[in-house]
Subunit: 256 residues, 8 copies
Amino acid sequence: MNEKNLRELLSRFRAGEVSEDQAVATLKNISLTAVEDLGFASIDHQRELRQGFPEVVYAAGKTKEQLRAILRSLYERSGGNLIATRASLEQYEFVRAELPMMSYDPTARMIYLDRDSTVERDEERMILVVSAGTSDMPVAEEARLTAHLWGNHVKTCYDCGVAGIHRLLNHLDDIQKANVLIVVAGMEGALASVVGGLTARPVIAVPTSVGYGASFHGLAALLAMLNSCASGVAVVNIDNGFGAGVMASKINSVRN
Amino acid sequence: MNEKNLRELLSRFRAGEVSEDQAVATLKNISLTAVEDLGFASIDHQRELRQGFPEVVYAAGKTKEQLRAILRSLYERSGGNLIATRASLEQYEFVRAELPMMSYDPTARMIYLDRDSTVERDEERMILVVSAGTSDMPVAEEARLTAHLWGNHVKTCYDCGVAGIHRLLNHLDDIQKANVLIVVAGMEGALASVVGGLTARPVIAVPTSVGYGASFHGLAALLAMLNSCASGVAVVNIDNGFGAGVMASKINSVRN
Amino acid sequence: MNEKNLRELLSRFRAGEVSEDQAVATLKNISLTAVEDLGFASIDHQRELRQGFPEVVYAAGKTKEQLRAILRSLYERSGGNLIATRASLEQYEFVRAELPMMSYDPTARMIYLDRDSTVERDEERMILVVSAGTSDMPVAEEARLTAHLWGNHVKTCYDCGVAGIHRLLNHLDDIQKANVLIVVAGMEGALASVVGGLTARPVIAVPTSVGYGASFHGLAALLAMLNSCASGVAVVNIDNGFGAGVMASKINSVRN
Amino acid sequence: MNEKNLRELLSRFRAGEVSEDQAVATLKNISLTAVEDLGFASIDHQRELRQGFPEVVYAAGKTKEQLRAILRSLYERSGGNLIATRASLEQYEFVRAELPMMSYDPTARMIYLDRDSTVERDEERMILVVSAGTSDMPVAEEARLTAHLWGNHVKTCYDCGVAGIHRLLNHLDDIQKANVLIVVAGMEGALASVVGGLTARPVIAVPTSVGYGASFHGLAALLAMLNSCASGVAVVNIDNGFGAGVMASKINSVRN
Amino acid sequence: MNEKNLRELLSRFRAGEVSEDQAVATLKNISLTAVEDLGFASIDHQRELRQGFPEVVYAAGKTKEQLRAILRSLYERSGGNLIATRASLEQYEFVRAELPMMSYDPTARMIYLDRDSTVERDEERMILVVSAGTSDMPVAEEARLTAHLWGNHVKTCYDCGVAGIHRLLNHLDDIQKANVLIVVAGMEGALASVVGGLTARPVIAVPTSVGYGASFHGLAALLAMLNSCASGVAVVNIDNGFGAGVMASKINSVRN
Amino acid sequence: MNEKNLRELLSRFRAGEVSEDQAVATLKNISLTAVEDLGFASIDHQRELRQGFPEVVYAAGKTKEQLRAILRSLYERSGGNLIATRASLEQYEFVRAELPMMSYDPTARMIYLDRDSTVERDEERMILVVSAGTSDMPVAEEARLTAHLWGNHVKTCYDCGVAGIHRLLNHLDDIQKANVLIVVAGMEGALASVVGGLTARPVIAVPTSVGYGASFHGLAALLAMLNSCASGVAVVNIDNGFGAGVMASKINSVRN
Amino acid sequence: MNEKNLRELLSRFRAGEVSEDQAVATLKNISLTAVEDLGFASIDHQRELRQGFPEVVYAAGKTKEQLRAILRSLYERSGGNLIATRASLEQYEFVRAELPMMSYDPTARMIYLDRDSTVERDEERMILVVSAGTSDMPVAEEARLTAHLWGNHVKTCYDCGVAGIHRLLNHLDDIQKANVLIVVAGMEGALASVVGGLTARPVIAVPTSVGYGASFHGLAALLAMLNSCASGVAVVNIDNGFGAGVMASKINSVRN
Amino acid sequence: MNEKNLRELLSRFRAGEVSEDQAVATLKNISLTAVEDLGFASIDHQRELRQGFPEVVYAAGKTKEQLRAILRSLYERSGGNLIATRASLEQYEFVRAELPMMSYDPTARMIYLDRDSTVERDEERMILVVSAGTSDMPVAEEARLTAHLWGNHVKTCYDCGVAGIHRLLNHLDDIQKANVLIVVAGMEGALASVVGGLTARPVIAVPTSVGYGASFHGLAALLAMLNSCASGVAVVNIDNGFGAGVMASKINSVRN
């Protein structure tokens, strides 16, 4: 039942063509589907919240034709930013032939459209992405670019693993200025605890699959981060830079 | 080197008793320890940030004498709230004999002192604790009481597991009003994904060890939450209600 | 919004006290909560389906006072059978003092009330519970009693492990007559595959934690059952006799 | 010993050519092999049950020549449907050159022959396949096509993950009409619990290997489904769409 | 159908009271149960093989009344040795009150009856039990006593862990004379590989749960033994001294 | 010190050129290396035992040049059978160009030389290789060919998985005649327990990596076999057909 | 063959009572056992090295009578220090009644005798034990006391977890002076990497079972330490303070 | 603040342009970054220690252009040895075109420059690398070459697995002369315990991923080594030959 049907029912009820019992029965049967057509609150609310938020596509496992069709549709239907995560260069080149306005970040493996040129990024609410080694960069960049496209002011501090603690301490200023921190580390994942001890702000920890042997594809870093002795640290899935970027963006826009 | 030593050095340098080279050499050798004596910025900054935040003790594994000594010291030294987590009733009764102002919450297993009576809890920044089953209550209550003692306005929505989705949907209003959400669930941990899909706010997921057999003491819920298909969900350790309460509090106080 | 509010709104709309736009706006805001007040179909439907089905309480982790209060309430409110699973003898004795009509099965560890005396058990739809060893009996009996209280005709075939295949083959007749089969086994869990190969009916496999060493508390049996080379085998959690009993009951009552 | 031998023995016994002791000795030695030649009940019974059921081949790991030979033999010997699961397009093209009546479903990766055109599919016994994301489609389609070739009326509800619960609730009607449900989900596998809470019918849960990082190739979804807080949920192996299709078919044809 | 029924059928068939078709039909329906009554070959064969072999009861998890009843029955019915494994001293004392001929080995935790006094133990077919540390003795003794009661000549070589390889080499003579070897070790389980390299005879490896931390209750030793670089090593379950004793006994009595 | 040196020492001692103390000192210092040159007993003993046993090379990970060089050397030096396990067809073709007497079994992936034509295989000591499915054949054939080249009489019974128990029971005769049994199975590995219950002879169980999902590359079958409820079953590493063949051969040649 | 036998053989050889061939044959058969009787070098060498090193007993799992007997024997036979690890207070009190010279450290759970009063501890070769939290103290103290009784100069730096990095940096002086470092940490085990980055000396990392939930009894810390991004870190078993103390002592006494 | 700034501040202070309070305030604010500019002790100290130590690059995952650029820079900036670990032949050939002085070891997969020709290797401080099988050679060679380039005298003892203990005992002399030992083994990893029992010196154990099936990519060897019954054994990550080489080098250069 959409709004037109609803108005029709009300008219016919007022006109006496539909009895009260009939109207009640019909209205009681409004299915959850109908509720959505009427503007299901959580949906509307979400849409409202989403203003200025990117539409997101998970490119991995999609054919280049599928990906291009989805991006074209989103491009035409939406006025905001677009993101396709885990996209290959080959996928991008196919997409670009038809959608030349799309950009590609090969490190973050993201196809994106950054057309929200009027965003005023709030430097007071800076998100800092800290990563341990150069091999962690793809995940860190995925987090950074996601948070950037969500409208945040983002800074980075890469290659700051704990084995050379002074490299990290050199960035103490940014660490203590940041409103939200994303810590990206593989191997033993110790960076999350150390950074967590240097700030009073929330830290999103992203374990990466960087390592070999007993890193078990990121399990070692994941367990380490979950057991962090620093409070104010929460963890997302292994290699989930995108998820960390979204979480940090959501934290950065809580009411205040 | 403390401030007195530093002033002495400067005096002797001005008096010509210490050459410039000697002064430079000494100042270059300021150890990190000395830096702290001079007022190591990150420490001071943290202290400043901690104003109004509780002092926290992990009671498990401490004797009742140790616990009482620590709480007495904190009580006398600090003006804010106090928390001892994972405390037994027996520990509390021993503590109370000497520190009668301490309270105890047997479900959350916390000894606490809530003397920060002037806190104005901001209802606009409500934290909602959602839990799946009655067995998850100790962890949920630990999160709730922690966030409360941190000065937040906290509401709860317990026994809202996904097997009866309507029970959860009955609380849609609170879910959508909350500024930050804590979701506590054992068994299959599905609640985090469902709640994550109903809000645009950040969700802290707490897996619990509730369950048996293939729950493997909370592992099933932990993995489920890390793999949540909803974005904006981050995870803390199994049964770590305290950690979730702190994380939510930190999120709730980011700059704005 | 309940039915009374709805009728009131319609009256006021017909009376012109509420404009069409106002009525539309109000009706569009019917929350999911309201939908339930109007008689949310899935709920009603479920209630209808539940006729004759037991009310179930998970006794483990509840105090005897809590358990007794819940059972008393269910006893007074419901006219059907009652089940409290994982109940201790001590819990039962406390409950019985006030609710003497309750029975207890010490092997299945269930408190129950079987007052549905008019059930005609359909022998054509026999559920067969097969178990491997005597140590698996508590789980097997939990499944049997659950299916019995759900109104099924249940037979058992215990101590039929595959190491003596002839013991199992002696029950071939029952195995092939059964409408649904529950197979309960610990250690290597091979029984599920063997039984699955002897029947064309659905088999519910229940791994148990019986075993030691590399059984890893039921993991060996669980993995074996999930990898069964027989088709028509599905698995429930380790030691979950109750869940198997419910699943078999639901299968036994699909439309026909 | 086949029936001819048996009749011969009896004739010779009656004719006095074989003494009673000899006959008893021979008959006591009827081996299990002989029993089968005589028509071993369980086998016959199974054959009878199998009427109208497809013959099934697991194509993975077989050469295209082997696969073609088996399918040719089954085609000539059997009058019913045929299925080859986990078959590649290359295998199909090789098979089709000789067996042009064979069809191929590239999503379900199945070669099949659907020659049972007279099946009357019972709409009252509808099987519903619900899946979480588009990446779960190969497994979901394998389940759907299997149940279809087994003679069932099958409907689908794809891309209904729990992170957008309204998408699922839009299909509430089908969910509640279905006689048996198959739920296919990777990542956190929460869909099984939510669907299980919306129906009184049996649910077969299929974890998929969709996901990355801490999904550990489907382990997260598997554990979640085994720990489902909804009753009436049983689980098959990771990615085992075929097994779910068979299990649902067997449930759908229990006695009634 | 037992032999008497069979003879009756044959008589009536010869007497013409039963037609050939009826006789065939009846004989074709001989169930597997009947086959056993007629003397199901594998059963008889096993019984024959079992002459002189002990009857075995798994005492763990049985009440002392159950255990005594089973042992009494076995004592009266069987003429050979008896074994109850994993029996407590308390169980033994209860049993002994009624069955004073039973013995108890507190290290091996076995109640046993060794009444087969005429056994001539073949020294040429010596079984050697080698163990790593004193903590492995309960498992080693369970293996030794089992093999002894099976009628073997058994020797032992305890506390011969690989960290002091000379202790092991001091027993080289026995190691090379043994017909079958049982190697019992916890912690890193290296002993199985070293012994396997010093003999051309089959080695049964028994991992024990001795150790702590990353021994994970015997998993480390289990994996080590399964990966032994020595050929001619096979493994039984963690702490399964009884199983190793039986396996060695069976090896020791293969045809020759 | 080799034999020549030893004789020299003795001569010079007898000639008085070396005092008793010097001789004792020298002989006490005989290093373990020297012991071997003298004919280190365990080594000699092993060599003696090895008469008629194949020399074995693990081909995987070796270059074809390395493999050919090793096989050429073994061919020239040894008079018995030769085995190269896990060899590719490509490796074989390279080897054959120079060593045309070598054979290749593509299923067992073994290059071998069977020149021990005078072996009289003892039918009374038959080794039976039982396997569950056709996918297990490479491992089963590796076991069979290994045991054959070791001089045993070997029979096979393939595709006898427990889901169709009658297929296995059809081979009951061979199962009960076999002196040693090798059971090869992937997926749930139940075959080992069933076969173990049908024989009194030792069973070597070989889990295979056949399966998918929760088979975890053979872990499910491995755990099942280790937990076998049948006694007289011991287990080798996943896919280790060669190891099972050697173990069975060693069992088959214990003293008697 | 002992020295007396050897001299006898040589005498008889010189006297012509034994031919050269006989002498050679006998000497070739010198078993490894005999080698030891002659004074097997590695054994002697080890004894020599052990001078001044403690004799060690693992008390856990021993009765108090057994423990006392072993300690009495060691006390009488050895002149050096004694250690019994994992000893309870109850064990100690029983031992002390007869051996009053024994001491007990309740935190390290060690009974010990420190009678090597002449040790000159080399301050240049200081061993530093760093631990993360107060709960790690039993393991840290076991390491400290072990290294002390081995004759080392040992210092400690406790409660220096990485969440408050300044606490650790306050001890930078000791960290950089230490010759060998032992790092003891549970939870996420990050301390090993941070300390490893602050020193050029070898670091022995000891994971502890301190933590809960996803620490999995020390697994998280173990994996973290094995994956340390700092070089010069090696790991011992979970909670193995004794092993770390021995390893550090051995490192501290390498040749120089 | 660098040294120039510091001198300027002191001049202005002496000149009265800056008050004592201002100077103290400024000096108190010396950040950790500034400390480094002034010559942060731990850094300098580390640099000093590093004299003669190689600069190390992890080549895996770097493009050949990146690798060449880094090596060129290190070559020009540093006067010592250079190491690039896990480098492919292709990477090397690209590098060599521009940097012809670089060498390559294909087994150890290392590009290196050994220009420290004046090193006097101390034979008294020999490092011995022991490995189990030929497949372990790449890891063993990585350890050997690393320790060699660090300036050590290194010997090797390869293919000495425990299944043929005499091969190892033949090297007893080297084992007992070595100052530090590195033991490299896959499969069951037993070699570490055996070698640990033959020396009083520290042993660094390196598990390798050599093996199949239940070796789980090195997990079996890792767990075995962590549980070694020999004391004085510590473990590095699976396949981490480089880490073992560094650890041994650091042990070999502790103070003395």
